[in-house]
């Protein structure tokens, strides 16, 4: 390779020792296994030519298969099950509608998400409204439209009651609970705590109000939970609380919502084993939940009362492996410590999850040369913009494309609009055709919310909007030079 002066491109001299047979917890992957030249059946080159780089590529088929598989597993074991599609995981409209076409309700956590679900045509009664910040206005709308309101705190409960009084109706509510399962870090900031008696007090308040009706219990014990027994314990605690309430108060719980938190096939940083060994099968979670539920609702069956509806709000497990990011090398360098490094056109701005996952990254074409430890940086002028701190790759060059796997969860919602335009998000349809489901941003997107006061309409007082140099009499008094 030559530079503009017809000299070979300079790189400090470097020697890489070969570490044949060294202890490696994952073993050494054969180079050809590491090549992914098609994404969801479409050639990578074609996708990048058509939609640019970087680009998110999503598989409709994979999403539908994921949802069907998990739902079937629950329905086979329990029957009365609803999946609430967690909008915050990926609220790209097309993805939400795939979920809804599969029968999933919308699980939303904010005014924006509620409005988005309604905009997409989701009826209020198929919306589960979670989240700690619901304004009175959005609660009024959600109650009027029949959404399921999950109450996070007492102030919200009072607001709901005041709305119910104003409407002259009885509003059904679900209480969000928190408690210690012994397996995961308790998320005590959300909902009402069982151990301290706060949850019982909240339930009692609902029971005493003629304008409210407690119909559901909800909890979410955490995220990316690798221990199915945590869910069994969660369900046991919720069922015990339900039975206690039903025994002492005039309450009939109609639904138990276990939240989400099922893991995807991603590699969490700090977890020793690779995902295929560390992540339990989804059926293990389903078994844990439904076995505990059958046990915990035995008292209902004994008295011939209906079983509560089971709601789960899985997001990551449904969509993570249904999306990849194609990103191109824009520069290479040798770091001062000798490691090879590459700069990519997609970084932490697009892959928020790279802060906690070691994403599986594959080459999209064969590349000759010795495999070396490489650092993958993104395009931001931030030192923390690192896609992978250490990955073994052959020498990449400008234009080489990498495929980052399992990026469907929390990237299209948590991505950063910092200094780069966000790229196209593409859907590969079930018939293999592809189309854009979220257009790449441009300058108009980035500036459409800006407002310029009249005295700040021009950047330099001596240059007008037409680009001509003006004569300045004094600040604010400008005359164009003819």
């Amino acid at each position: 390779m030559q530079n503009m002066f017809n000299k070979a491109i300079w790189e400090p001299p470097f020697i890489q020792p070969h570490k044949i047979g060294e202890i490696n917890k994952f073993g050494r992957r054969a180079a050809k296994d590491n090549i992914c030249d098609t994404v969801f059946g479409v050639p990578v080159k074609l996708l990048v030519e058509k939609y640019g780089s970087p680009v998110f590529v999503t598989s409709e088929k994979q999403i539908r298969e994921n949802v069907r598989r998990v739902k079937r597993a629950f329905e086979r074991r329990y029957g009365n099950v609803i999946h609430g599609w967690s909008y915050k995981t990926n609220y790209t409209s097309a993805i939400c509608n795939i979920m809804h076409q599969e029968g999933s309700w919308a699980e939303v956590v904010s005014e924006f998400e509620y409005e988005k679900a309604r905009l997409l045509g989701v009826p209020g009664e198929r919306i589960i409204f979670n989240g700690p910040n619901k304004s009175k206005a959005i609660l009024e709308r959600a109650i009027a439209e029949g959404a399921r309101i999950h109450v996070d705190h007492l102030e919200e409960l009072h607001t709901i009651e005041s709305i119910a009084i104003a409407r002259g109706s009885v509003v059904p509510v679900t209480l969000r609970l928190n408690f210690d399962t012994g397996y995961t870090e308790p998320w005590s900031r959300f909902g009402f705590n069982i151990e301290s008696g706060q949850a019982y007090l909240a339930a009692k308040l609902v029971a005493l109000s003629p304008h409210l009706k407690l119909t559901g219990l909800h909890s979410h014990i955490g995220t990316f939970i690798l221990e199915p027994r945590a869910y069994a314990e969660q369900v046991r605690i919720m069922c015990k609380f339900m039975r206690e309430l039903e025994g002492n108060e005039n309450i009939q719980i109609e639904s138990l919502d276990i939240g989400g938190g099922f893991p995807s096939n991603n590699a969490l940083k700090g977890v020793y084993l690779p995902p295929e060994q560390s992540i339990p099968a989804i059926s293990d979670y389903v078994n844990a939940v439904t076995s505990a539920l059958m046990e915990g609702t035995q008292y209902r069956r004994e008295s011939n009362r209906p079983l509560p509806q089971l709601i789960f709000e899985s997001g990551r497990a449904m969509v993570d492996d249904a999306q990849m990011l194609l990103t191109s090398v824009v520069g290479t360098k040798r770091l001062a410590d000798g490691r090879r490094a590459c700069v990519l056109d997609g970084g932490a701005n697009l892959l928020f999850t790279s802060y906690w996952y070691n994403h599986l990254i594959k080459l999209t074409s064969e590349i000759d040369g010795p495999v070396e430890e490489t650092v993958l940086y993104g395009p931001l002028c931030m030192n923390i913009d690192v896609v992978r701190h250490s990955i073994h790759l052959p020498p990449l060059k400008h234009g080489d494309i990498l495929a980052v796997h399992c990026v469907g969860a929390y990237n299209n919602t948590q991505w950063m609009q910092f200094i780069e335009y966000r790229p196209n998000v593409v859907l590969v349809h079930e018939d293999g055709e592809s189309s854009i489901i979220r257009k790449a941003e441009d300058l108009s997107v980035m500036t459409q919310q800006d407002c310029l006061p009249s005295h700040l309409q021009i950047p330099f007082l001596d240059i007008g909007r037409n680009g001509r140099i003006n004569k300045i009499a004094s600040v604010g008094q400008i005359e164009a030079v003819s």
């Binding site: 070979a8 300079w10 400090p12 001299p13 470097f14 020697i15 020792p17 070969h18 070396e372």
Partner: protein, 87 residues
């Protein structure tokens, strides 16, 4: 060409024993260890094996790659320290 100087942390007789391919593959028959060199590393090792001084090797690198002698010298020095750890 002049003799390799003692300023290199790599002993000249050890450098002579190394088998170096045109593509930068290096085999050290004394330890059985093998290495890969990048293009500047390969050029440096070939020159040093021929007995070129460190200073002249740095000058050749600077000429070939269009960088200053100071940059080439400091990089070569770091390279030789790294290489010296393996020989």
């Amino acid at each position: 060409m002049e003799d390799a100087t003692v300023s290199s942390p790599c002993r000249p007789e050890r450098l002579q024993k190394l088998a170096v391919s045109d593509t930068g593959f290096v085999f050290d028959p004394q330890t059985g260890q093998s290495f890969t060199l990048n293009s500047t590393g390969l050029m440096s090792l070939n020159l040093l094996k021929k007995g070129t001084t460190v200073e002249n090797t740095a000058a050749c690198l600077a000429r070939e790659y269009g960088v200053s002698v100071e940059v080439a010298s400091s990089s070569l020095e770091a390279f030789l320290v790294q290489f010296g750890r393996y020989l």
